[in-house]
């Protein structure tokens, strides 16, 4: 801190800073240098559960699982599937059976060697209705899982499915051991680069280096301390004062501010996390396609993106993000057509001044801004939107999909199929929860896309899908958010992934 201020021009502020630092007695010198290889990361929310299969919300949960556990496969920052516990895999020709070959010599943190039965146990657990894992629907095509030999497992599917290796990279698919499952919520045992040390809810979660990690030379850090700091004002201040070394998932308003900092930096990547507005096609007034079209026309995606995210997001057509190869760059994402919307509304006999309640899960300022901005647009079209901010958990449990009109958002998924199929296919899980969209044409396209292994064919099909949804969308996916993290300048090599992840395994600190 002092070096930094010496290097910069001595302004009044920095002079004051130095003076006060000098004046402060050593006793209450606040910022004690942490041991060199302890990384302290601030997260805004605490992990909900330590049980990987039961995780529902992202954020800190995913990061903890990622660093503490391993999965069969993993995805690199370019969303390409890479080996993790499985070193290789292959499918049968019809894509209905997948075989994974496990890495030999992998040990759990308690020393127990990993074998194929752990994989089978984990996936059976995922498929167990009583466990209630959100991943179950992603693997609904799995008929059975066989242990071929201690280092080989085979998944037998009911339908052809090309993206199984990518699906297996999901965080909830982290491999657990049956023998340690009873303590999984208190003292989880995984195979990841870091071992669990302790978790004090509301305070911090401590991980330490796993010396037996299967990849050589990693991790470099001795310890990772995940601190829970709900206010970003506070966590950014802590980052600047050196009380933490990194801040996870900065909101847009903090990104620009932190970019000015001399002691910390921002690493920002485009990510697949999207936010938008959902309307329930089974409920009035959205059972009328004209109303849906009218609402689509009200939305000025670039403008809302700017208001909600201050430029730290990209307007998009569907959950397929603009940086994805399949994204239809040729379709313009334009402004609103209020007159057109009004005309459609008139046709649908929606009176001027029609009042609609819009439910918004709270604790997410961008989403609130999105809703507020949309409200403004709707007002111009003669629709009176009343916002109802609800506690997020309450929203997800009781309102999502049960109210006609809401603002919502989802984390990015690994493959185009996982990104759209659950939302837009008439049998899709999220579709049936959220908005009940039924379009046989779309179904046909999505089914075709998921069963082909030909990339060009897929690109064409998903391109068509994006076009089909332009008008008739059961909601509006407005933008995909950037993922930005703040780092102290002494932190190096933390991999920031568009999947909202900080990979600490290669990270290091300079003194």
């Amino acid at each position: 801190m002092r070096d930094a201020s010496l290097q910069t021009r001595i302004t009044r502020r920095s002079a004051l800073k130095m003076a006060s630092a000098a004046a402060l007695p050593a006793l209450i010198r606040p910022v004690r240098a942490a041991e060199p290889s302890t990384l302290r990361v601030a997260f805004a929310i605490q992990p909900a559960t330590l049980d990987p299969q039961k995780m529902r919300v992202g954020g800190v949960d995913y990061n903890y699982v990622y660093n503490c556990f391993s999965r069969l496969t993993t995805q690199d920052p370019l969303l390409q599937v890479q080996p993790d516990l499985a070193t290789s895999w292959e499918a049968t020709e019809d894509l209905k059976a997948w075989t994974f070959h496990l890495r030999p010599g992998v040990k759990f943190h308690n020393g127990k060697p990993l074998d194929a039965s752990d994989i089978v146990f984990t996936f059976k657990r995922i498929l167990d209705k009583d466990v209630g894992s959100v991943l179950r629907v992603n693997f609904s095509m799995v008929d059975s899982i066989d242990v071929v030999d201690p280092l080989t497992v085979r998944f037998n599917l009911s339908i052809p499915y090309a993206d199984l290796p990518a699906a297996a990279a999901a965080y909830q698919a982290a491999i657990v051991s049956e023998s340690t499952l009873d303590t999984v919520t208190v003292h989880p045992i995984g195979t990841g680069p870091f071992r669990f040390v302790e978790y004090r809810p509301g305070d911090q979660l401590v991980l330490e280096r796993n010396p037996d990690y299967f990849l050589p030379g990693v991790p470099k850090l001795d310890r990772v301390i995940i601190r829970i700091i709900p206010e970003f004002t506070t966590s950014v201040a802590a980052l600047e004062s050196g009380a933490v070394d990194a801040v996870f998932d900065l909101p847009p308003e903090q990104v620009d501010k932190l970019k000015q900092s001399t002691v910390a930096r921002v690493e920002e990547v485009q990510a697949g996390r999207w936010q938008g507005i959902t309307w329930n096609c089974e409920m009035k007034p959205f059972d009328d396609p004209r109303v849906r079209r009218a609402f689509n026309k009200m939305i000025d995606k670039p403008a809302i993106t700017e208001i909600a995210m201050f430029g730290h997001a990209t307007p998009t057509l569907t959950p397929i993000p603009p940086f994805h190869p399949y994204f239809r760059k040729d379709i313009p994402i334009g402004g609103a057509d209020i007159a057109g919307a009004k005309k459609l509304l008139a046709e649908a006999a929606i009176p001027e001044g029609f009042t609609l309640e819009m439910y918004v899960p709270g604790s997410n300022p961008p989403r609130e801004r999105l809703a507020t901005a949309f409200r403004d647009a709707a007002k111009q079209a003669g629709i009176n939107v009343q916002l109802r901010i609800a506690p997020p958990d309450k929203f997800f449990a009781e309102m999502e999909g049960k109210v006609p009109f809401a603002a919502d958002g989802f984390y990015g998924r690994a493959t185009p199929d996982l990104m759209v199929y659950p939302w837009y296919h008439s049998t899709g899980s999220w579709n049936n929860t959220l908005w009940h969209y039924k379009n046989p044409e779309v179904d046909k396209v999505l089914d075709a896309a998921r069963t082909t292994a030909d990339k060009n064919e897929q690109a064409k099909l998903y391109g068509r899908f994006q076009e089909m949804l332009l008008d008739d969308s059961p909601g509006s996916v407005i933008y995909v958010q950037n993922f930005a993290c703040g780092f102290s300048n002494k932190v190096h090599d933390v991999v920031v992934s568009p999947l909202m992840l900080m990979d600490f395994s290669k990270a290091a600190l300079t003194a």
Partner: protein, 318 residues
């Protein structure tokens, strides 16, 4: 005095029981479907029913209350729905940290408040009085979280003088331990000071205007003794009750302050569990907080008895 103690203890027990019933009923009046909350979006009515049965939600309310209350009494606060960990250790941890914050704040508030109040009363109508009242007006005019933000901005972000978040174990050294407490304690103090100061001022003024102070002066005691021995001793008695009352506000303030300063205490835990509708956590947190408040009031009552000779020494001696 013994009768007084027994009476206060009895009253506190009755209130705790009433409170536990209230907490139980209020949380069970939650319109949310707890099982759906626990199981998430993909739960089916059957799995929900099974869980409800396992949790005993299908039993009559009095039975549920009895089970809950008797478990509580044994220190078993159940499992957090969300974290699936026992609530008790988490709660006691958080309570311990909140208690540190609360006790430090109470100490600062009571000493500073009493001192300011005495100064204001002794120099009533003159500048120390006005200064004290402006200061306290100012402090109480904004909610805790705002002062918290302002203090973070000044001492954390701008001056980098003090850590603006979290908390340090005593094991990490006395310095960091204290440093982490300075800002939250200051914030709480700022908002609570007014109440104590004003009450001390008015009870001190009443004492200074009393006949016994006049008599003490007529005995030729120096003013210092008159103020400290005669006036303050009596002015302290009502202050005890006020401090206990402020403890209630402190608990409220702690909820906001802990959020602002990322202080891992019970208040934040409560707000979190409310937002997530984590029933066992919520019940336990509310019950413990009210219990703490009850104990604070009880302590004040008992202290009141000790300080007030009318209660300590009952009968007349003719």
């Amino acid at each position: 005095m013994a009768a007084y103690v027994v009476q206060r203890l009895g009253a506190a027990m009755v209130i705790m029981v009433a409170m536990s019933v209230l907490v139980f009923l209020a949380t069970h009046a939650l319109p949310s479907n707890a099982a759906a909350l626990i199981l998430g979006q993909y739960s089916t009515p059957e799995t929900q029913a099974a869980l409800e049965h396992r949790l005993g939600f299908d039993l009559p309310l009095p039975v549920q209350y009895w089970r809950w209350a008797s478990h509580m009494l044994q220190g078993d606060m159940g499992q957090s729905f969300e974290m699936e960990r026992p609530v008790a250790p988490i709660l006691w941890d958080a309570l311990g940290r909140s208690a540190i914050l609360a006790v430090c704040s109470m100490i600062v508030v009571s000493t500073a408040g009493l001192a300011l109040g005495v100064v204001a009363a002794v120099w009533r109508g003159r500048w120390p009085d006005h200064a004290a009242s402006i200061f306290t007006y100012f402090g109480v005019s904004l909610p805790e979280f705002y002062w918290g933000l302002v203090l973070i901005l000044i001492f954390g972000s701008t001056l980098h003088l003090l850590p603006s978040s979290g908390y340090a174990n005593l094991a990490e050294g006395l310095g960091p331990f204290i440093a982490h407490l300075v800002l939250p304690v200051s914030t709480l103090t700022l908002t609570l000071l007014a109440h104590v100061t004003r009450l001390t001022r008015s009870s001190m003024m009443e004492a200074l205007d009393s006949v016994y102070v006049k008599v003490a002066r007529a005995r030729g005691l120096p003013e210092r003794l008159v103020i400290l021995r005669h006036a303050l001793r009596n002015a302290l008695i009502p202050s005890i009750t006020v401090l206990a009352q402020d403890f209630g506000f402190l608990i409220g303030g702690i909820v906001a302050v802990e959020t602002v300063f990322a202080y891992p205490g019970l208040g934040r835990m409560l707000v979190g569990s409310l937002a997530r509708q984590d029933l066992p956590m919520m019940q336990a947190a509310i019950l413990v907080l009210t219990g703490v408040y009850c104990v604070a009031n009880l302590t004040a009552d008992l202290l009141y008895g000790v300080v007030n000779p009318r209660i300590r020494y009952g009968g007349s001696i003719g």
